[in-house]
């Protein structure tokens, strides 16, 4: 177990003679955004990694305090832009918890379908971007081939490709497009036809396996101590899937497995995400033919007012556990909103797992942590 005192004393270690301190970022091809890492190196070996945050801080939490309960959901699409649906979903759930509204069955199924499509899209992009970090460019284009199909489906139903803003308190904004079911089925066909390419191109590659296996080891204890969530903890063998532990919507009625790997290294985290895509496909297959008839939105008042109190919901995004905490004073806007984003906790573990490894491994580890910088800074 990593003791708190260790972390403090390590943070105060100043560079010694012969150390090389380099700034990776905020503009650097490896960081996928404006993350700034100050790396202390001894030759090629990493002694310390210090993330500097705040380059893309847009004070989303503060902004939400001046927006109504219908409006603030749209801002949260911009937090973790790769799983915008799931962010919106978490916020909508929290507001619904306060309002105590019953969500129609049709809306629930549509929400879960959209969540899982988003999860696949997010993992596809992660896969391509991570392979790119390792120096392989081609996987990126292969991943985008499938991801574009999902984006097209989103565009048809929600009207947007990246920040969908489809979830509203009480359900979804509008009904799914008439083509929705057909196109999702087409996507499943495409996915099943092409997914073996992922394994052939990257997973089975000997160079890739050598780069990933035994690198960036995170023990189950550390994963818990650092507050990691999502695929990062499950790669260390810690069960942490919110969909299983605290089921929301209809996840408790669905048949899917929580993916667990015991390796704890980069390769385990990689395999988790690859297998999670299969599980998501499984969920979509169960639901796509069984979308119940009915309303897509519950009847809510035009102006929403949450009762005085505190409300907390959590969902499983593509990156891990997203918590939404609303403190209400009884007005039309929240008194305080706090987002517990998965990327922030997952980033904090980077220094711990990167020490002693080579600089080439650092980018691989950042890839397997699946960092989305706007999610970390908010």
């Amino acid at each position: 177990m990593y003791r708190q005192t260790d972390i403090i004393s390590d943070a105060q270690v100043s560079p010694q003679e012969g150390d090389l301190v380099i700034n990776v970022g905020p503009q650097h091809p490896a960081t996928h955004g404006v993350l700034h890492l100050v790396i202390t190196l001894n030759g090629e070996t990493i002694k310390k990694v210090e993330p500097h945050l705040g380059y893309i801080h847009r004070s989303i939490e503060k902004m939400c305090e001046s927006l109504t309960y219908r409006q603030f959901i749209y801002v949260t699409s911009r937090m973790d832009y790769l799983s915008a649906h799931i962010n919106n979903h978490a916020c909508a759930l929290c507001v619904e918890k306060g309002l105590q509204v019953e969500i129609p069955a049709r809306a629930q199924v549509i929400r879960v379908l959209m969540d899982e499509l988003t999860r696949i899209a997010s993992h596809e992009l992660w896969w391509g971007a991570m392979a790119m970090d390792l120096g392989a460019f081609t996987p990126f284009f292969h991943a985008f081939r499938e991801r574009e199909t999902i984006n097209d489906i989103m565009e048809e139903t929600c009207g947007a490709r990246l920040t969908m803003n489809y979830m509203v308190p009480g359900g979804v904004m509008q009904d799914v497009h008439p083509n929705f079911q057909r196109r999702v089925k087409e996507f499943i066909q495409l996915y099943k036809r092409k997914i073996h390419e992922y394994d052939e191109l990257v997973t089975g590659n000997i160079i890739f396996q050598n780069r990933m296996k035994g690198v960036g080891y995170l023990s189950p204890e550390d994963a818990v101590a650092y507050g990691c969530s999502g695929p990062v903890t499950r790669g260390s063998g810690v069960s942490s899937d919110i969909r299983k532990i605290y089921p929301y919507e209809i996840y408790d009625k669905l048949n899917f497995d929580e993916v667990l790997e015991s390796g704890g290294d980069s390769f385990a985290r990689y395999m988790i995400r690859i297998r999670e895509m299969h599980e998501s496909i499984k969920i979509i297959e169960q639901l796509i033919d069984n979308i119940p008839e009915g309303d897509f939105q519950a009847k809510t008042k035009a102006v929403l007012k949450l009762p005085k109190g505190e409300f907390y919901t959590r969902v499983e995004t593509a990156r891990g556990e997203l918590g939404v905490y609303i403190v209400s004073e009884g007005g039309t806007t929240p008194y305080r909103i706090k987002f517990r984003s998965p990327g922030f906790s997952n980033l904090s573990v980077l220094d711990h797992i990167a020490r002693g490894s080579k600089i080439g491994d650092l980018v691989a580890m950042m890839g397997t942590l699946d960092l989305v910088i706007p999610d970390i800074d908010r």
Binding site: T138, F140, F141, R211
Partner: protein, 358 residues
């Protein structure tokens, strides 16, 4: 078979009858130099567009398709852009070395053109130690990279240069040893002799397993030596932004870029010469008709065809494989390739002594 020597003889006779011997020599050297520079520029443009088209084909996209027919003039437009771009020198840089480094890279690449036999009787300098010359001169390349990395006053550049130094120096060993396998079988270091020795069959076919092993090791080693992916640690853009040429811009960057492609061409030409018979056509035993048809194809087409095939293979590597880590890279060389190639050369020597090849 049609030969280029007629043209060369004709020019030589005409110059000799017009000028005195000294001037003849000087004019001939100038002609040769201009030819090399012309070939250099043409190959640079062709290889860049080839790389972009091959990568596009592998990555299910179209690649450049706006400038000229099918985007074939794209690299011309790129060159124009790089020519008019400002070549900046960082304020903290060692100005002399910083500006010298790209030219050294370029000069090395140009020097390597001398002993290559492009076609039948078409060779600038048929020196008797051609293969040794190529491996000796190509190692100068590392000096320019180290120079660029050190003088840039940039930590990324420095790390890229240091990686490159370790990499090129180690991989030179197995590249040299794999070349030696063919040299041992041929009994000559001269490139024209090596090509002539393959008149009855290319070494890859008649050299049995040792030559095939040597060929594979050669391909891996030269990919590493030219800093191409999956061994592009000197550049490693996701780790070191652009490695040793992070601070270079404009034409100075273009010279590095061009030198890289030229080096790829050279090593592939050497590979084609040593293992795939250079400009020698493909012959099968006693099939007179078939052999005659093969002879009818010009020797330059054979040479460039084989070379571009190898270049394609190296590009294929680049767009399919992830990058190795620096310690894995050195492990691969010192723990696997070097012992294998050492054993392989013993095997090849044994084969040459016993006369086991065809």
């Amino acid at each position: 078979m049609w030969s280029f020597s007629h043209i060369a003889d004709f020019i030589h006779e005409w110059l000799s009858s017009t000028f005195n011997p000294t001037w003849t020599l000087i004019i001939e050297m100038v002609i040769a130099g201009v030819c090399v520079i012309g070939l250099f520029a043409a190959l640079g443009l062709v290889l860049v567009i080839m790389e972009r088209k091959v990568s596009a084909w592998i990555q299910i996209r179209l690649g450049p398709n706006r400038v000229g027919p099918k985007g074939m003039l794209q690299s011309l437009a790129d060159t124009l852009k790089l020519l008019v771009k400002e070549g900046m020198t960082p304020s903290g840089a060692d100005k002399f070395l910083f500006n010298l480094a790209p030219f050294i890279a370029m000069i090395v690449a140009m020097l390597l053109f001398a002993p290559i036999a492009f076609a039948k009787d078409f060779q600038l300098w048929d020196l008797n130690i051609g293969v040794l010359y190529v491996s000796a001169v190509s190692s100068i390349m590392v000096i320019s990279i180290l120079m660029a990395g050190w003088s840039s006053n940039n930590k990324y550049s420095l790390m890229g240069a240091m990686r490159s130094g370790a990499q090129i120096v180690s991989y030179e060993l197995s590249a040299g040893l794999s070349i030696l396998a063919v040299v041992v079988l041929t009994g000559s270091l001269s490139i024209s002799d090596i090509v002539m020795s393959q008149a009855d069959g290319w070494w890859i076919f008649k050299g049995h397993i040792p030559v095939i092993i040597a060929f594979i090791i050669f391909l891996i080693a030269v990919t590493a030596e030219t800093n191409r992916a999956p061994f592009d640690l000197a550049e490693a853009e996701s780790e070191l932004t652009a490695g040793f040429h992070t601070e270079y811009s404009g034409m100075k960057f273009a010279l590095f870029f061009l030198a890289e492609y030229m080096n790829v061409f050279i090593v592939c030409a050497i590979g084609a010469t040593l293992f795939l018979g250079g400009w020698m056509p493909f012959h099968i035993g006693n099939w007179e008709g078939f052999n005659h048809v093969m002879d009818w194809i010009p020797s330059s087409v054979w040479f460039f065809g084989k070379t571009f095939f190898l270049i394609f293979v190296i590009m294929w590597f680049r767009w399919t494989f992830p990058r190795l880590r620096i310690d894995q890279l050195l492990n691969l060389e010192w723990k696997y390739l070097l012992p294998i190639s050492m054993f392989n050369i013993l095997l090849a020597t044994l084969m040459a002594i016993m006369g086991w090849h065809f």
